[in-house]
Symmetry: C2
Subunit: 425 residues, 2 copies
């Protein structure tokens, strides 16, 4: 079906292939390739040993129209990417005089600031200014140049490992003639995302199959993320009508769970709903320990809406800072619908927030009982137009229970605001 | 140097190779291989197309002594891992009667609960009960079996994609005879980690080079994580003395920055320091929006120490809930050393916490000025034995400023408690 050019990504780094650090460049580059119409066919993560990197490069150069290599451009002997790319492309290495001068200038500055003789740096400078014959420089990241090289039908882009540097030089690579030539053969697909909340991954999978599923230029993937179900559609040029039809048939049985057709995260949606109605927002959190507030304040400009939170982990704080009546705690317990409601009311009063959400539960692994198991969470949101509550027994470990509780709290705010908006309309 | 058996990891999933979802299985498996003395040589992430997965498997079967494959075991036609592993190993497929019965039983239960005829499931059941000739089942994950298969000098382990299932069946794979045979040839290295705070990655790299660096059975990697610098040592059997010497020479110029020789995250260290001295802990947060509290409460059992937090995003909350004097705010501004100190004092009083840390700053991208730029953060910690304060202009985007501020807050608590411990000793 797809006739997109194939892209291979080769990521090098011992700490990455050993699982000591998570690779961020592979997913970034894969997504970039896809957006530009190149099919990301493989991400290979290898260490800095010659054999592993050579094999991965040789395989990529044979198979891909675009090969992007990340990492291994430093000044020391373990950084062998440039040498091995040249070998895989069967070209020699040349000292590029302009680069030599530029990197030398930067390194002289370093040497001076560190009070060390420049001669200590000279070998590294020569190494970093030495590039495969016929390669073009993309400019420097630190003291290493990004490079573009052509070999047969493959265009190779070599980028530095630090993500910010890689992203900066990738933007430059996109403007070079060899990469543009690959992209003219590429037909960028349209990427769409539908997001659901309150239904299961298998229900969405079934609805998708019933709606006709993949094919005719539309490919879908389903991901569950802390109770949200995301459906990603990759739509080939010309298949827009098929995608519209599939979307309509998918959404129709799941209408009430669909909350977004765009990329804004739920915390941004909640802030926008409040902002649109001139409402301030606060949280009262026990088991989530501040996670709901943290997610809301991760959004730029959240201070226009979000005013504060009380994390009431101990019961005394629930009483003193949120005004939860002691007899509510003693009769119903800290993990109860009544306490959640009292926490939300208290947060509105104490913080002076128009809307407040409260979360109390047992994140585990300790503290559960037969009556109140680990994962039991009560939520309550209260605003000027009314309130909503919910309770769940979330599966999973401590982190998972907390993330799901925080996610559910954000969606509970959304539902309250959407409901009161609908009612007032 | 190393004579460890080589391990290849093949991860399959369209959403992974396209960067729509981050792969968790590759890093988990790589770390497991390393711990068991198998050198993780490559992680290949491929989609579910036949060509990509076949190529990756063929390369792994030629090169690795242990090949672990994750994903693609579902009941539908896109899940082709088993078929392609059989083809790569040049063996046929057989319906395994025991599995057929077991998976059939589970699927009959599903069918009944869903009110659908079992015949809808039969094709999927047969597919999932069909395995390569000579493969052993590791037991089921959902309705898919994990598998172990031998091909020439390579042992292939096939595991399901969902991380929890993969981890469960990986533990079983470790007990099988073919995998054990590979591991008897493996010499597990000792893994050590040193963590520093308050120094730079390049200073640690220089100290490491001055200390002798890699070689003679010790390999090191340096990672910077939100201002912590982690040095991982992989120590071959017999190289322990060399590792001790390297460690001593590395640590000696950096002694005051070394805070840990074990795996506990800083939030757990802080909680343990408080617990050991019977102190309760709270936070007062502005720009971090609850992140410090969230990190502390991510630790199991934190409720013994951590009692609560006030997230005071708006100035009224700083005044009303933390008792920050309005004239401190008007004279020095919300982002100032004076406000940070008043927030910490207020949190101790209002929350009744023995130790409280306060953070106030400009996370950006808006809100900066020439005098107070984006990234400017003031921190203050106060306890029964005294107080400490700090201020920084953190580089990076909003998320990075917040993470670094939260990390620094945790280390500031640690330093206060270590200092007062040392002074009282």
């Amino acid at each position: 079906m797809t006739t997109r050019p194939r892209g291979f990504i080769v990521v090098t780094g011992s700490e990455l292939v050993r699982g000591e650090r998570r690779d961020l460049n592979g997913p970034f580059l894969a997504n970039e390739l896809l957006r530009h119409g190149v099919e990301p066919a493989r991400i290979s993560i290898v260490g800095d040993r010659e054999e592993e990197l050579s094999d991965a490069l040789a395989q990529a150069l044979g198979a891909a129209e675009l090969c992007v290599v990340s990492g291994g451009l430093g000044p020391t002997h373990d950084d062998r990417t440039v040498e091995l790319v040249a070998r895989a492309a069967r070209v020699g290495l040349v000292l590029e005089e302009g680069l030599h001068e530029e990197i030398g200038g930067i390194s002289r500055g370093f040497a001076e600031r560190l009070g060390r003789p420049y001669v200590d740096f000279e070998a590294g400078v020569r190494k970093q200014a030495t590039i495969p014959e016929g390669a073009h420089s993309l400019g420097l990241a630190g003291t290493a140049p990004g490079l573009v090289l052509e070999h047969g039908d493959t265009v190779v882009v070599v980028l530095p490992g630090p993500p910010a540097e890689l992203q900066r030089l990738w933007a430059k690579a996109l403007e070079t003639e060899p990469v543009r030539r690959v992209l003219t053969r590429a037909q960028p697909p349209e990427l769409r995302r539908l997001r659901f909340f309150g239904t299961s991954e298998s229900a969405v999978a079934k609805a998708l199959a019933d709606a006709g599923g993949d094919g005719d230029g539309v490919e879908t993937t389903i991901c569950a993320r802390d109770f949200e179900i995301h459906v990603d559609l990759v739509v080939e040029p010309g298949a827009e009508a098929r995608a519209d039809e599939l979307t309509e048939r998918l959404v129709s049985p799941l209408e009430r769970y669909l909350f977004s057709r765009d990329e804004r995260p739920i915390e941004a949606l909640v802030l926008d709903l409040c902002r649109g109605r001139g409402l301030t927002l606060g949280t009262a959190e026990s088991c989530t320990g501040g996670m709901v507030a943290e997610r809301l304040t991760s959004v730029r400009g959240s201070s226009e809406v979000f005013i504060g939170a009380v994390v009431a982990y101990a019961d005394e704080i629930k009483i003193r800072e949120l005004g939860v009546p002691p007899d509510v705690l003693s009769r119903h317990g800290a993990v109860s619908a009544e306490t959640a409601a009292a926490m939300a009311t208290g947060a509105r009063e104490r913080l002076g927030a128009d809307v407040a959400v409260a979360v109390t539960g047992i994140a585990g692994p300790d503290g559960g009982s037969e009556e109140k198991p680990v994962g039991l969470v009560f939520l309550h949101v209260e605003g000027p137009g009314g309130s909503r509550s919910a309770d769940f027994v979330f599966p999973g470990d401590r982190g998972s229970v907390r993330r799901r509780a925080a996610m559910t709290a954000l969606h509970l705010i959304r539902r309250l605001l959407e409901q009161t908006r609908d009612e007032s309309a």
